[in-house]
Amino acid sequence: MDTLLDARGLTKRFGDILANDKVDLVINKGEIHALLGENGAGKSTLVKMFYGSLEPDGGEILWRGKQVAIGNPAAARELGIGMVFQHFSLFEALTVVENIALALPDPGKMAELAKRIESVSVDYGLPLNPADIVADLPVGIRQRIEIVRCLLQEPQLIIMDEPTSVLTPQEADLLFLTLQRLASEGCAVLYISHRLEEVKRICHHATILRHGKVVSECNPAKETPATLASMMVGADVASVSAGAQKPRIGEIRLGLSNLSAKAATPFATALNSISLELHAGEVVAIAGVAGNGQGELFDAISGEMPVAQEMIRIDGRPCGSRSITWRRRQKAAFVPEERLGHGAVPGLKLSQNIVLTRHATGDRLTGGGFVSTARANALEKHIKQEFDVRMSHDDPEARSLSGGNLQKFVVGRELDRRPAVLVVNQPTWGVDAGAAALIRQALIDLARSGSAVLVISQDLDEIFEIADRIAVISRGYLSAADPAEEMNRERVGLLMAGGAEAQGEVA
């Protein structure tokens, strides 16, 4: 096989952290090459060096046998390296054709470029309308823009960072077809994913990174997801146990009835008569592709976005227009998607961040208008131990914690209250495997102790691992929550792709 890219001893340092430590990687023509590793293993750093957006501190890159210095993304594109970013590098206020023009060295006339976009996108089964404004497009289409943008540069290597995390299973299948066609045409793909099933399915080769170093290489077709996972983590991954006993379903603790809300901004999603009953003892999960109203639903249930009083009940008491504090006093607890800047204040110490959600819940954190630092410190120590939150020194600012540790803290802060209702949005997004397992287990344990737990997640593996019932949200409509054993990926996928909408409209 022809070697396309040969990286030797690539090293990158950020302050005290060695993000990449003498990484070697060889990519051949026509190969779909998986790059695996936990969050923080150094995958993004490595590919950013290939794409010229980071500068290596050491090592060399050989492109088709010649040593190259990839000074910036334009240089990478000139070599024939394209990239599809996980968090898209798109401009919402601009049109599709403008977005694509920005990535081409010589886009020519806009009208002609638009024609080329139409023909290439149709050719690859990824149709696009060049005049659309990106802000109006769903995530699946946005990814198409990124891919078409790459294809127009006639690349020899396409780097894809977590491309399927925003797709329904059916959309992902379509993407795999495109990738296989590209590979058959001789184009190489460097494929980053944490979905080991699909890596096994489509990738020819896999390189595994841990703590910035290459720890192993393999042919994923010959491995199982479990062996791949243990290579990534460096140990066997603890599996979550839902408990041998089926949940004992109790009374309704959280009720949503015909919950509707208009979109607050042009970029938000409206909620359309969502109904759901959450019982004591069960975990209900809401699946869906990002941007289908998950954030709005969370805000409505938490009280950050007030709705009509009767639309939400906690333990039977109507509270749609009550404050978040009132709901917390009813023993409800909430964990939002964004850890920094929503669930926690980046520049405040952890002990102060405890005051953030618990100043009014009878934890004696405040008295006579004053905040009790001593009590906050005691709670911080307790939560830190209980949930194994690791930190470099005592009571640091929230921003200095790693994603996994901060998520354990934010979840722990609420679980420590033993809430009757817990609503959590993306509980393990961007969290390492160890922390994810701990958090998932804690959610199940809380439910089994008699609370009701609502998990909003994009991660289908997670959902099937912990949910007793599964509903799907699509464009602000929610499907019926059916028992997990009656659901499968295909059905969830169809609901994600708009089936939930049809069902919701009927309901």
Binding site: G52, F85, F91
Partner: protein, 305 residues
């Protein structure tokens, strides 16, 4: 009478127009420079001083533009390379500009000024009514219109404009695609400074050819409001500038003709009250403002490398 009013409207609107169109470019790149007033007043004093010393209005204008750019470079260095708070730094620029202009201008108080000459466009300037109003103005008036046209064209018809809008819309994406966000922003900030300096020169060399302390009297701030009013579209800046020009000369004409028996202070406060009113009307339409506001406006950006 109507012709005279229209002439004064044009002179009153021109500095607002030029300063606002400069700030519009700055904000389109994602930077909020609240120091327009400070850069403008520096342009006014430096323009006056240089014109007075050299006897050349043109040199005065050039120096004013340079002064505006120097001020904006200071601002750009702080907010772009040191990631200082944009609101506070813009305020600092205004405070510094007012202070510095007072110091420089002290020697020129009461000194008779120089008026940059009007250009008579042959043929056209002889047309009755239209001629005197539109074709017998000074060069800066024409330059103002040319600037608006050039900015509108560049923003929406050229690659440079596309890159500028992209940087203001999403600096992370622009950086990921390999554009130098800070460089684009710094150039935009310099352009804004040049425009503010030019607007200031117009104040002290054409509008009222003399130096008076604080002579810009909040016009830099009104220019900022005009950018909001225009929803970041250059052609709408023209409409806004002329509206405000009209409001401010209403005051002069009303006083001169004793048309009405209302306190002069009320008339003087009309431009400020009108600014508040316009801001309320525009901002109340959340949809319009949210869609058009550059998404990264005022947000700091630190590139990783």
């Amino acid at each position: 009478m109507f012709e005279a009013v229209l002439l004064t409207v044009i002179t009153a609107a021109t500095p607002l127009l030029i300063a606002a169109v400069g700030e519009l470019v700055v904000e389109r790149s994602g930077v909020l420079n609240l120091g327009v007033e400070g850069m403008m007043i520096m342009g006014a004093v430096v323009g006056f001083a240089v014109a007075n010393q050299t006897g050349s209005g043109t040199l005065g204008v050039v120096a004013a533009v340079a002064a505006g750019m120097a001020m904006s470079a200071l601002f750009g260095f702080l907010v772009l390379f040191l990631v200082a708070n944009q609101v506070a730094t813009g305020l600092a620029l205004t405070i510094l500009g007012i202070g510095f202009s007072g110091l420089i201008g002290e020697a020129f108080i009461g000194v008779p000024g120089l008026r940059i000459p009007s250009l008579y466009i042959p043929g056209l300037s002889d047309i009755p009514f239209i001629g005197p109003v539109f074709f017998q103005q000074d060069a800066i008036v024409y330059l103002g219109f040319a600037l608006v046209a050039a900015v509108a064209y560049t923003l929406f018809r050229t690659r440079l404009g596309l890159v500028l809008r992209a940087v203001g819309d999403n600096h992370t994406s622009a950086h990921a695609l390999g554009y130098s966000v800070l460089k684009v922003r710094f150039l935009a900030v310099l352009f804004g400074g040049a425009c503010a300096g030019l607007a200031g020169a117009y104040m002290s060399l054409a509008y009222t050819p003399q130096w008076v302390e604080n002579m810009t009297a909040g016009r830099g701030w009104i220019a900022l409001a005009l950018v909001v009013f225009s929803s970041w579209l250059p052609l709408r800046v023209v409409a806004g500038a002329y509206l405000f020009g009209a409001v401010s000369v209403l005051n002069l004409h009303a006083q001169a003709h004793e048309m009405v028996n209302i306190p002069s202070q009320l008339l003087s406060s009309l431009p400020y009250l009108a600014t508040i009113l316009v801001l309320v009307l525009i901002s109340a339409n959340r949809r319009l403002t949210l869609v058009n506001t550059p998404a990264c406006l005022g947000k700091p950006f630190v590139p990783d490398r």
